[in-house]
């Protein structure tokens, strides 16, 4: 089947085996042109393996990888028009910053002068011109990170691959780099494929996210879709904080599913394709979609007792022991303290869900 010239990367049934161990179990996904795409998952989920297969450092056991319609899975790395920002940056320690950035351009046949001129422009773009003559070891981690970016972007790759590039930076710098990366992607118009285990990072930067676990893709979607409508237990649990309830589905009608808890208490939420009447599944409710009251707001309000209030700056997390069910986390924004009340530990209260807050999960 010929490839689509407008898709940046098309991974078709890619399998990666190391001896008996299968690192990737038949992954297929399409990454669009000019997209900020993130591979998200815990360590060992296969995200880095997939990235390295696109870069050419790992061969593909089975399947195909297409780059703008051309099969690349059998090409050596130096013939693939993609560049990588490595986790440890891998800046050449014996070369100056300028020569590092010029390296790819020279290897592509540019003259030394032309390569250096373009490298100088790239250093300007990442605001490091004054460090051009230094060696990598004389730069801070954040600066090395930006040099690695400039070096990978200089030859104008068709796709830029980023392997957890922010993991070595401290929190503040990481936040600043997240925005800078996003801006760079917009400015250059190059497709970015970003690998991370940090869900917050993924939600902040990505146009679309592929959530991976144990060599399989769990869900593919926009940050909002992944967060608001997780497909299964793994995604709901891995992305953000959530409350899980075991429910049985009684009735599915008009896009609504009526369920009940173990003790019989009824709860209504949006129905999900593939989960029908009689199914025993989990329901996920994000803590910020819950609010507390001293009297039941509706018949579905869940009775509970406040165990603890935890102040986390912008929010207050309240741990509530439900009369019927596990311990719940309810998050109240600090600015809402006036209208959404905070209750002292020990108070008997009711936990209420916003409309459509519950999400049924596949296992």
């Amino acid at each position: 089947m010929p490839g689509n010239k407008t898709d940046a990367i098309d991974v078709r049934n890619a399998v990666k085996r190391y001896g008996d161990f299968t690192a990737l179990k038949r992954i297929s996904l399409t990454i669009k042109d000019n997209e900020f795409f993130t591979l998200l998952g815990p360590s060992g989920c296969g995200k880095t393996t997939l990235l390295r297969m696109i870069a050419g450092f790992e061969d593909v056991t089975e399947g195909e990888i297409l780059l703008y319609g051309d099969e690349i899975e059998s090409l050596p790395p130096h013939l693939r028009p993609v560049n990588t920002v490595f986790q440890n940056y891998a800046l050449f320690p014996h070369m100056t910053i300028l020569d590092n950035v010029a390296f790819g351009l020279e290897m592509r046949g540019k003259t030394k002068a032309a390569a250096r001129k373009r490298a100088g422009e790239m250093l300007e773009l990442v605001q490091l011109s004054q460090f051009a003559a230094r060696k990598p070891s004389q730069l801070s981690g954040g600066q090395q990170q930006r040099v690695a970016l400039a070096r990978a972007l200089a030859p104008q790759p068709k796709v830029l691959l980023l392997d957890e590039p922010l993991s070595a930076l401290d929190l503040k710098l990481r936040k600043a780099m997240q925005l800078e990366l996003k801006h760079l992607q917009r400015e250059t118009g190059i497709t970015f494929i970003f690998v991370t285990h940090d869900q917050e990072e993924a939600l902040t930067m990505s146009d679309r996210i592929a959530v991976m676990s144990a060599g399989e893709m769990q869900q593919l979607g926009s940050p909002t879709e992944i967060y608001e409508r997780p497909r299964n237990m793994f995604v709901a649990d891995f992305i953000g904080e959530t409350n899980l309830l075991e429910v049985s589905v009684d009735e599915v009608r008009n896009g609504r599913a009526v369920c009940h808890l173990g003790g019989g208490h009824a709860l209504t939420c949006n129905s999900v394709d593939g989960i029908g009447e009689g199914a025993k599944v989990h329901m996920s409710v994000r803590p910020e979609r819950l609010f507390m009251s001293d009297v039941p707001v509706e018949t579905e309000s869940l009775k509970g007792r406040v165990a603890e209030n935890i102040f986390v700056g912008t929010d207050i997390s309240t741990l509530v022991d439900l009369a019927e069910g596990p311990q719940f986390i309810v998050r109240t924004s600090n600015s809402d303290r006036g209208n959404k009340r905070i209750f002292e530990p020990g108070s008997e209260i009711f936990v209420n869900m916003e409309l459509g807050a519950g999400r049924l999960l596949m296992d």
Binding site: F92, M107, R108
Partner: protein
């Protein structure tokens, strides 16, 4: 955080054992060095400072013999060190970067085994080998033997250095459109340079210093410095031998110092 056991001086007898070791190791060297500047004919009586035995080395009755021996020793050491370093570099590349190929452990054993084999065994075996293939003994047999036994010495610092270089540097180079060969010459080789230089110097010293193997495989009339010194000592120790020894010692110290500073200039960090 001065824990009692952190201070090695706290151990009883530390000072005396250290002194004993130092005396046994270095006293002979110090005495030879001092007496090489002795004005006396005798090797035991001190009669004042003089450079006469150094002059004797270059102008005395044995000077011609030592000049030829020194020429042989240094040319053999330079050629053997160069050749063995080149071979060791390729071997290290295969061992460290070649992945987990079949017989990798066996290969490692074969490379380092010569360090463990008693030198006299290697010497006899090499001699028998040269006789068996009808190789006339002389300068060439010494050179070939030296290249062979220097390889493991050159290999050790080179492979140690290479193991310290992450393969992400070469991957980054290939990712940036360098071919495998370019990644090797432009990235890996410069990063390995300190290891290669150390390996070369070590091989050089080992070759310059070798006596047993050389003595077995050299032809009649072909001498290197160690065999010439030995030959001379057999007729009685004269102070000129001390002068030669002191000069060899200085060369070794210079080499070791260079090697130390080269390995300290770590350009991978």
């Amino acid at each position: 955080m001065a824990h009692v056991n952190d201070n090695i001086k706290a151990y009883k007898g530390f000072r005396s054992i250290t002194l004993l070791c130092l005396v046994v190791l270095y006293a002979p060297l110090v005495i030879v060095t001092i007496y090489s500047f002795n004005a006396s004919q005798s090797i035991t009586n001190w009669e004042g400072i003089s450079l006469r035995w150094y002059a004797e080395v270059f102008t005395g009755p044995e000077s011609e013999k030592f000049k030829v021996a020194a020429f042989n020793s240094f040319t053999i050491a330079i050629i053997a060190a160069t050749a063995s370093t080149a071979i060791a570099t390729l071997a290290a590349t295969a061992m460290v970067r070649g992945g987990n190929f079949k017989l990798r452990t066996v290969s490692f054993g074969l490379i380092s085994l010569p360090l463990m084999v008693p030198e006299i065994v290697t010497a006899v075996a090499t001699l028998i080998f040269f006789n068996a293939i009808g190789f006339t003994r002389g300068y060439m047999t010494i050179l070939v033997a030296h290249i062979a036994f220097c390889i493991p010495f050159a290999y050790l610092p080179i492979s140690a250095r290479m193991q310290g270089i992450e393969d992400s540097f070469e991957q980054a180079a290939m990712d940036l459109y360098a071919t495998r060969r370019q990644a090797f010459t432009k990235i890996l080789m410069p990063l390995m340079a300190p290891g290669i230089i150390s390996g070369f110097l070590l091989a050089f010293i080992v070759s310059l210093d070798d006596f047993i193997i050389t003595n077995f495989v050299k032809g009649a009339g072909v001498e290197t410095l160690p065999t010439a010194i030995f030959g001379s000592v057999k007729q009685g120790i004269k102070p000129n031998i001390m002068a030669i020894s002191t000069m060899l010692l200085s060369i070794s110290i210079v080499m070791v110092t260079i090697s130390y500073f080269v390995s300290k200039s770590d350009n991978t960090k």
